[in-house]
Symmetry: C2
Subunit: 304 residues, 2 copies
């Protein structure tokens, strides 16, 4: 199987109640590509950065199984930059700065060597760009997963509807699911999203876990109760990376495997929030991951 990840690679500057960073690596595809490569062995990246992006950071991606052949480096331009500050409850944040830079004109060029893509993860991006990626793949992948956010519902509704109609799985948070469907009940929201295209809907609920809807079935995964969330940035993308990475590793599109994939995604996300940015993802051990998968088993198992 071949796994393709498309999305932003960026700089973030983050402030939480625990501390503050200068510019560090951020962006949906940074998290997704590394997290998915942990499970699938490798991932192919399509993204764009400016010439301010450090070769050492690209080397870090490569070292973790990310093929960066599709990472465009724009000379004389700057990378996408986001700066945000989390409030004390860590559940809400204020955006301080958004500089689109190279992302404003991103043309997702698919290297020829990526054309065997069977598993496609479209990280949060303009829906039109996401659709371009699908259209540029000569063979439709077995599984297309897409993430999005409320911003695109406000400014690119028609594009969003077209892209939704072309994907298999939508990964979205609860607030966004409600905005997208005007339904408060997440069960009803999922039904409406099915009607927009995606046969499977993942609703991320942060500290409350995630729900998977599809084939008339529902799966509910908890989040691991944590004493401390150090930095939530990238948790949702790491979750998505774990999800697609597990599906690719199993070469599967079944609902049963999606359930386990959600547990793997939740596990990787639970590591992600322990340190700033993607730091914690860079030194993960296989047995650490397995031990936490076991924690999820213990957390949810009961006899009745």
């Amino acid at each position: 199987m071949s796994l393709l990840v498309v999305g932003s690679v960026a700089f973030d500057a983050i402030e939480t109640p625990f501390g503050k960073t200068d510019k560090i690596v951020g962006g949906a595809a940074s998290y997704i590509s590394i997290a998915s490569a942990y499970l699938a062995g490798k991932s192919n990246l399509v993204a764009v950065v400016g010439n301010d992006f450090l070769p050492t950071d690209i080397a870090t991606m490569q070292k973790h199984g990310v093929n960066t052949e599709g990472l465009q480096i724009k000379q004389d331009e700057k990378s996408f930059f986001w700066s945000g500050k989390y409030r004390n409850d860590m559940n809400s944040r204020d955006t301080l700065i958004t500089e689109l830079n190279v992302l404003g004109t991103f043309d997702p060029i698919i290297p020829e060597s990526y054309q065997d893509c069977e598993y496609l993860m479209l990280g949060n991006l303009a829906p039109a760009v996401q659709l371009t990626v699908i259209n540029r793949l000569r063979k439709r992948p077995k599984l297309i997963v897409m993430d999005t956010m409320n911003f695109w519902m406000d400014v690119a509704w028609d594009d969003l509807m077209k892209t939704l109609a072309a994907v298999d799985v939508l990964s979205i948070n609860d607030e966004e699911a409600r905005q997208l469907t005007k339904e408060y009940s997440l069960k009803r929201a999922a039904q409406k999203i099915h009607a927009m295209g995606p046969k499977y809907v993942i609703i991320k609920k942060g500290e409350h876990g995630a729900l998977l809807f599809g084939e008339g079935k529902i799966f509910s995964a908890p989040a691991l109760p944590l004493e401390e969330v150090f930095d939530p940035t990238g948790a949702g993308d790491t979750f998505a990376g774990g999800f697609i990475g597990y599906m690719a590793s199993k070469n599967s599109t079944s609902f049963e495997d999606m359930k386990t994939a959600i547990i793997y995604g939740s596990t990787l996300a639970s590591f992600c929030v322990e340190q700033f940015g993607w730091e914690r993802l860079l030194d993960l051990k296989k047995d650490e991951i397995q031990a936490r998968i076991q924690q999820f088993n213990d957390l949810t198992s009961f006899s009745a």
Copy 2:
């Protein structure tokens, strides 16, 4: 085993986006006693009402396995009355009227025939009254579960601490757990509550399910994703009733059985919200309950 339920029996007038009731039976102990009797076969009730309470409602309790020997009926006084209106998201409500009436001077008299109590559920009441019940039982029950609310944290902190120190399990919602401990992390909140007395802590999260902490272990139960919540009144009390009722039916105080008890509590609560007040609880069938327990199994099971 003998199961004792103490708490309010009251009238409620409820308004939701789906409709409006006149005075109907409400109160924590009404829900708890009926829900627990479904699982334990019977429950002993200690509560107080005025002479406006209808004999037919008492008969309804009795028909569902509730022993009302300990239900005091105060002549020339009125029952506790609460009126509230739910907002459109059904997750928040405004209290319109609270008339304490008989509850203001409630003296919880324990009938002699209740002294064999092994399982005690203290529904939400003034903590001093809850403690009086414990002190009036000559033999300490095997398991004492207590519910409370933020109101008592504001007006009766010292009493609350004394009562907490005397119980085994605290059942509380997430917002209340945070207020009680000044901790945002529910895992840390549970640790602080353990230090106040209860070896086991159940944190109810409404549509996000519930967490059980104890013996260094954690169990996470989902709520059943519902298309519609018709009336959430009594869901938390029905949950508590299912919990204590299951433990009593198993004559157990083990963590493993508490996990299953939480699933039974969640199951009964999922029925409760389908109609106004306790209506849906009055015609529950054993096989309906079992079918929904199976839904919880399907909802949470995965292989990893």
